[in-house]
């Protein structure tokens, strides 16, 4: 075992030894309550959580006699935020390679890589996102040597060792420029790689224990991982931005009808919204891209999400690859677009859903979390203002009914340097 892995194992043991916090039955009253399913906020709302799950939320919910209510004092109470497609748990510091597990370009595997194996629940980015009200995330993709970017994991951001909610929740593939770069330099090669890989997976599914033909390109591990994709048991997340690449993705189902597709990015999705909607394929869209940063994003506009939604596409926000805690700011910007002539945004209610129930549903987990409807996880956030507004912040965060610590490296530094001048001892003694 390398020193690196030894350290990880030790860290894991440390986490495991901490007594797991118990889910707390609770009732939050007097809230400006957002259910998160696209319905408007409810004044004077109550949410009741038992055994880690929401049992009731709304106006006029009877307060169970055995629970001492937490009075929200009229503050906003929402479900925890869900951010799909992030590198949370894979990275401590992006530019410090040793700390960054988001790339495996030298590995002989691609589709077979299982991201869940690397998730570090104690990584600071998780603690910082949690303090921003993010409670669940989908983690992918990996940088790999092939077009397949590994099997993504759904995690919760609780301060406990059990981060992975669902491993191997989806497979991720890059079409477009990023895919072309690893497939051999052309989109033509991307499509050939994809077809070949899915064909090899089909063949392996027919004879799982048998010998494979001698001209296969995939390792057995990768081909085996793709069986779930080609049979539709595991969703395939397809990164595509250019309108033509999106069409290429949608057309894959002519050849592989069982594919369960989700589009990621979809910068030019507004140009093909009708086709995406007709195909019933959901989209995890990067929210505010409005520059032609590459030749596959020439049509970029902040109105992309609003136009797709208006065109009947099921769309959530994600894949922004900076800090997940920016999700509310991005959602708020889409609300702002409603007042810009010619632009198209989302209503406040739909914008909030696009960072809560929307991504949860696209992940296939809408019954488990993402809203405060009865039966969902007790992922609850209390805010000190409108959660989409810039000056607001999360003040209490619960995951599965367990109140979460909001302290992290940043908050500790803030307290130490509240006043920069040193006192009678150096700052190092102030902790």
């Amino acid at each position: 075992m390398s020193a690196h892995r030894l350290m990880r194992a030790a860290l894991g043991a440390l986490l495991a030894s901490a007594a797991p916090a118990m889910a707390q039955d609770m009732a939050i009253t007097n809230a400006r309550l957002v259910i998160g399913d696209g319905t408007p906020p409810i004044e004077n709302g109550t949410v009741v959580v038992r055994g880690g799950k929401v049992v009731a939320a709304g106006a006029g919910v009877a307060l169970p006699g055995d629970l001492k209510p937490i009075d929200a004092g009229g503050r906003w109470v929402t479900p925890g935020l869900v951010v799909a497609v992030t590198d949370l748990g894979l990275v401590d510091v992006e530019a410090v390679d040793d700390s960054n597990d988001s790339g495996a370009a030298k590995a002989p595997f691609s589709a077979g890589l299982d991201i869940a194996a690397a998730i570090n629940p104690a990584a600071q980015p998780i603690a910082i996102a949690r303090a921003g009200g993010v409670t669940r995330a989908a983690v992918a993709p990996l940088g790999t040597s092939g077009i397949f970017r590994g099997q993504g994991a759904v995690i919760d951001l609780g301060a406990d060792p059990r981060a992975v909610v669902q491993p191997r929740a989806f497979q991720y593939v890059d079409l477009g420029e990023a895919g072309a770069a690893v497939a051999g330099g052309s989109r033509v090669a991307v499509l050939a790689s994809l077809r070949n890989a899915l064909a090899e997976a089909r063949e392996l599914a027919l004879a799982p224990a048998g010998n494979r033909r001698d001209d296969v390109l995939l390792t057995r591990t990768d081909a085996a991982a793709l069986i779930a994709v080609v049979t539709g048991r595991q969703p395939l997340y397809v990164r595509a931005d250019r309108a033509a690449d999106i069409r290429m993705a949608l057309n894959l189902r002519e050849e592989f009808p069982a594919l369960k597709l989700t589009l990621v990015g979809a910068t030019e999705g507004w140009m093909v919204a009708g086709e995406i909607a007709a195909a019933g394929v959901p989209v995890i869209a990067t929210p505010l891209t409005d520059l032609p940063q590459s030749f596959e994003r020439l049509g970029a506009t902040q109105s992309n999400v609003g136009r797709m939604a208006a065109g009947g596409v099921r769309v959530a926000l994600g894949a922004f690859f900076d800090q997940p805690r920016y999700a509310p700011q991005y959602a708020g910007n889409l609300v702002a677009l409603n007042r810009v002539p010619g632009a198209r945004g989302l209503s406040w209610d739909k914008a909030f859903a696009a960072i809560s129930s929307g991504p949860a549903e696209i992940l296939g987990m809408g019954e488990r979390f993402g809203s405060l409807r009865a039966g969902r996880a007790g992922d609850v956030v209390v805010w000190d203002g409108d959660p989409l507004e810039l000056t607001s912040g999360a003040v209490r965060v619960f995951i599965d009914g367990v109140e979460q610590p909001l302290e992290n490296h940043q908050t500790r530094l803030r307290e130490r340097y509240r006043s920069p001048a040193e006192g009678s001892l150096p700052k190092a003694y102030d902790w």
Partner: protein
């Protein structure tokens, strides 16, 4: 405007770099020395002229003047390209009959937003290799390169910064791969066929320097110095010693040839060229301040100064601004101690705060960055009024760029660089409705043709879209 140009640019054309000290030597400098000292300091002069504008009277708006003032239901008059009057009402304003009258009820007015740290044009969209013109990473010391020579005026990013960010002036800096990356240039955010047509008349030049990880990584990987932080300092100090020697020879009339690197550094030592220093860590900033004292120059602003909050007292005492993001964090080792309360703690310490972007997306939302920093400050008990926060995007960057006598606040006589917002600019729900540069209306959300579309975008998907 023309009068102003004659004073500020004309002066640069005529004056020579030679200081009066030449006379000490009692010898007339030879022809070679003349060529080395008496050169045109403005060889790529601004050709920018304000576009025609109609006088504008805005009434009933909330006005943030950029210098910490706030007027409810206030009035602003733009005339002849300038701010002509600001007040609680238009009573007493000399309003021309042809003035466009705008009811500003429910709307907000600020000075044009200023970004002190942009790479638009040098790293334009599309971000293809052929466009990568921001870092001359062939030598750690390149004060001879000028960012303006890389600016592609057709970068679509300029229009997004105008329409979504209300940005009216911005400083384009070379990247941070080098210790001394080259000269920065300040632009008016006005579309033009040439970079000269964008150059901010009268703005001083700057020199971009960089601390820390980037230069030592770039050159360490090439197997040359610097490969460590101490190497960074050694190369810088040796260079400053050469610059002092160059300047001494210049003043003695003993220079024989021109040296573009040394001309820039001598300009810094003369106080004509401002130092804009990329530096993340507090301990490194403190070392740079001592290096500046040792070499005899002043640091105007530390950029990306994520650890400024640890040394607010030192920065205040040295009158150095911190140009910062609201809450970028952790993307590299030297950003690991970034905190979202950086601006708030600095403000409380009485140090100068500037919100910057360094990003073609962030420049569209500088107002939002400032609001986030304000909220994070409030949560730790530091209340900063809205009007004070607006200063971080207007008067403070103007000061740090040496253009505060011209723009950055709404005072009579200043350039008519103004944004009319459709709500409080510190709210996520607000956007620019109209943007004027020198009194010319260059963006209007209500007029789809009053929006710049770069050459690159013509005939492409989304041409002229709202973006």
């Amino acid at each position: 405007m023309r009068g102003f140009r004659a004073v500020l640019c004309g002066a640069a054309l005529v004056l020579t770099a030679a200081a009066p000290g030449i006379a000490r030597d009692k010898k007339e400098p030879g022809a070679a020395a003349k060529a080395a000292t008496q050169f045109n300091k403005d060889p790529y002069p601004s050709t920018y002229r304000p576009y025609p504008g109609q006088p504008v009277l805005i009434t009933g708006a909330t006005i943030y003047d950029g210098k910490g003032g706030r007027i409810e239901g206030g009035a602003l008059l733009l005339r002849d390209g300038k701010v002509a009057a600001v007040g609680a009402s238009a009573a007493g304003f000399d309003v021309p009959g042809d003035a466009l009258r705008i009811d500003g009820s429910g709307k907000f007015v600020t000075p044009g937003i200023i970004d002190i740290h942009s790479h638009l044009g040098d790293y334009p969209s599309p971000a293809v290799e052929a466009h990568s013109d921001g870092n001359e990473m062939t030598d750690p010391i390149t004060p001879n390169v000028w960012a303006e020579h890389s600016v592609w005026p057709q970068d679509p990013g300029f229009s997004r910064a105008l329409a979504n960010g209300g940005v009216t002036a911005l400083q384009i800096l070379p990247g941070s791969g080098n210790l001394m990356g080259g000269r920065g240039v300040t632009l008016k955010n006005v579309p033009a066929r040439t970079v000269q047509g964008m150059k901010f008349p009268g703005a001083p030049y700057s020199l971009k320097m960089a601390c820390g990880e980037n230069p030592k990584r770039v050159y360490g990987e090439k197997g040359r110095m610097p490969s460590t932080r101490m190497g960074n300092f050694a190369v810088n100090r040796e260079t400053w010693i050469k610059a002092q020697e160059y300047r001494r020879k210049r003043d003695e009339g003993k220079l024989e040839t021109r040296d573009l690197k040394m001309e820039t550094l001598a300009g810094v030592l003369d106080g004509e060229i401002l130092i804009q220093n990329h530096c993340y860590r507090a301990d490194e900033m403190a070392l740079v301040l001592d290096m500046a004292k040792e070499a005899g120059y002043k640091v105007t602003t530390f950029h990306h100064a994520v650890e400024s909050y640890k040394i607010g007292d030192l920065l205040r005492a040295n009158e150095v601004c911190s140009a910062i993001w609201a809450d970028w964090w952790g993307f590299k080792m030297e950003a690991y101690d970034a905190i979202p309360e950086n601006a708030g703690i600095l403000h409380k310490a009485g140090a100068c705060v500037v919100i910057h972007s360094d990003d073609e997306n962030g420049i569209q939302r500088l107002n939002q960055e400032a609001a986030k920093a304000q909220g994070d400050a409030r949560r730790m008990g530091i209340e900063i009024p809205d009007a004070e926060v607006i200063r971080w995007l207007t008067a403070n960057p103007a000061r740090a760029m040496g253009i505060d006598a011209l723009t950055g606040s709404l005072e009579p006589g200043k350039m008519g660089d103004v944004v009319l917002w459709n709500g409080n600019p510190l709210s996520v729900y607000s956007r620019p409705e109209k943007v004027w540069v020198d009194g010319a209306l260059l963006f209007d959300a209500n007029d789809r043709k009053r929006r710049p579309v770069s050459d690159f975008e013509l005939g492409q998907p989304g041409e002229g879209d709202v973006k």
